[in-house]
């Protein structure tokens, strides 16, 4: 499990740990059933307070992403679903905001950005198909245009 934390971030350390575990699960680097580094070990590896690691694990457990089995350790939950949709949405919103500012500076209008998104989406689909995985497709939701900001 590769986790990197920085103390100059505007995110508290336990949030950084949570986010990176969530990302690892979302990116398939951690799969259901995988064992996580123990809290003690992670605290020593990252050089952060054991209570901070405990807090991150407790939160993830509350959200159902990981499960602790007494005496055995902590594992990625069997059905690790996307964590807290509201938080996820807020994160994506920030990313979209940065993306649109960049696009604006680069002289791309909103339609071009959408076209670009479609293009990348098609690429990802093609890659997924090439990997042979008939994974479930969770891209059902379509972006709403009303959310655009300058």
């Amino acid at each position: 499990m590769q986790i990197h934390i920085t103390s100059a971030s505007d995110l508290p350390i336990y949030r950084q740990i949570m986010r990176q575990i969530v990302d690892a699960v979302a990116g398939d680097r951690l799969r259901p059933g995988d064992k996580l580094t123990s809290q003690r070990e992670l605290a020593e590896q990252l050089v952060v307070s054991p209570l901070t690691v405990k807090k991150a694990y407790d939160e993830l457990e509350r959200e159902g992403l990981i499960q602790t089995q007494r005496g055995r350790g902590t594992f990625v939950a069997a059905r690790a679903t996307a964590v807290d949709p509201a938080a996820q949405r807020q994160r994506l919103r920030e990313m979209v905001r940065r993306l649109l500012s960049r696009a604006h500076l680069g002289g791309l209008d909103f339609t071009s950005v959408l076209a670009l998104a479609h293009e990348v989406h098609a690429e990802l689909e093609a890659e997924r198909a090439a990997e042979g995985g008939s994974d479930n497709d969770e891209s059902g939701s379509t972006p709403r245009e009303s959310e655009s900001e300058s």
Binding site: S7, A8, S9, D10, L11, P12, I13, Y14, R15, R40, A43, E44, V47, V48, S49, P50, L51, T52, K55
Partner: protein, 301 residues
């Protein structure tokens, strides 16, 4: 019972120079409390009061339930303390200093001492006077930690250490927390160390406790807003806003710290002052420190 209990402490070194004014807080078992404040804010005074090296003019201090002035020996045996300007006998060799501590503390753990000694690469035959400031500090830390104290009180433990030695000290502290579940009260100017080690923060300012909060809560419940300076944004008016804890002028803008989440601060500014495009953000600890207790830029800049 709290491990440390400061109750309504007042202290002045000389008349009119009040260092601590009605300071109260406690440190609970297994907590790691980072004591912050500018130079001269009273951090060292408070820690010296805790160790019974000074007597509070008013108020009470209890360590592990004991009065450090009445039961100094018991307190010293159960507490590890490293002062800001550790004085070890210059003529002694490192080995002799360790022998002395081993003899004094019944709880001395030779394994911890050996491991730390190797980690810090301290030459055991060297005389204290030949060591660098950082090395002396490491010897002092080793002595404070190796008797496995129930409470560690560290005054600027990283002062004078290079980044690698600082990180080693942090690693040692975290191992200690993992293994012994100690309670730590430490002061520091290194905000990155504080973020890694502390669960809770007490910030001293103007003699009193300005902030007493869980670190994560502090990080998530405060935000910084920047608004342009103008007739409708006078510092007085901004300071009167609910949740506004500080206003600083920087160039042609004003920095406001709110005890609110960023989005709540943005909507407050829009509602109260009609500022629609303010950008509020979370703050790293270092920025927060500077915004809360940093000096004011001259008004006429």
């Amino acid at each position: 019972m709290s491990v440390v209990d400061f109750h309504r402490i007042h202290h002045a070194y000389e008349r009119g120079n009040q260092v601590l004014r009605d300071v109260s807080f406690t440190v609970e078992r297994r907590q790691v409390l980072g004591l912050l404040g500018k130079n001269g804010a009273g951090k060292t005074t408070l820690l010296r009061l805790a160790m019974g090296l000074l007597k509070a003019q008013e108020g009470e201090v209890r360590l592990l339930g004991l009065d450090p002035r009445e039961r100094p020996l018991e307190v010293k045996l159960r507490v590890g303390y490293v002062s800001e300007d550790q004085i070890l006998p210059p003529a002694l060799r490192v080995r002799q200093v360790l022998d002395f501590h081993r003899g004094v503390f019944p709880t001395w753990d030779e394994e911890v001492a050996r491991r730390l000694g190797e980690r810090f690469e301290i030459p055991s035959e060297a005389k204290i006077k030949t060591l660098s400031r950082g090395q002396v500090r490491q010897v002092a830390l080793l002595c404070a930690i190796a008797h496995r104290p129930e409470l560690l009180i560290l005054d600027e433990p990283a002062g004078g250490l290079d980044p690698a030695a600082r990180r080693e000290f942090l690693e040692t502290s975290i191992q200690l927390l993992n293994e012994a579940g100690s309670t730590i009260l430490f002061s520091s100017h290194y905000m990155s160390d504080v973020e890694r080690l502390a669960d809770r923060i007490v910030m001293l300012h103007d003699g009193g406790v300005l902030v007493d909060s869980e670190l994560d809560e502090l990080r998530e419940s405060y935000s910084l807003a920047m608004v342009p300076a103008g007739p409708e944004t006078s510092p007085e008016r901004l300071r009167a806003l609910a949740g506004c804890t500080s206003v600083r002028r920087r160039g042609d803008s004003l920095h406001l710290v709110f005890e609110l989440e960023p989005q709540a601060a943005e909507s407050l500014l829009e509602r109260e002052l009609g500022i629609a495009n303010s950008r509020c953000s979370a703050l790293a600890l270092e920025e927060m420190f500077i915004e809360l207790v940093g000096g004011q830029a001259p008004e006429s800049s």
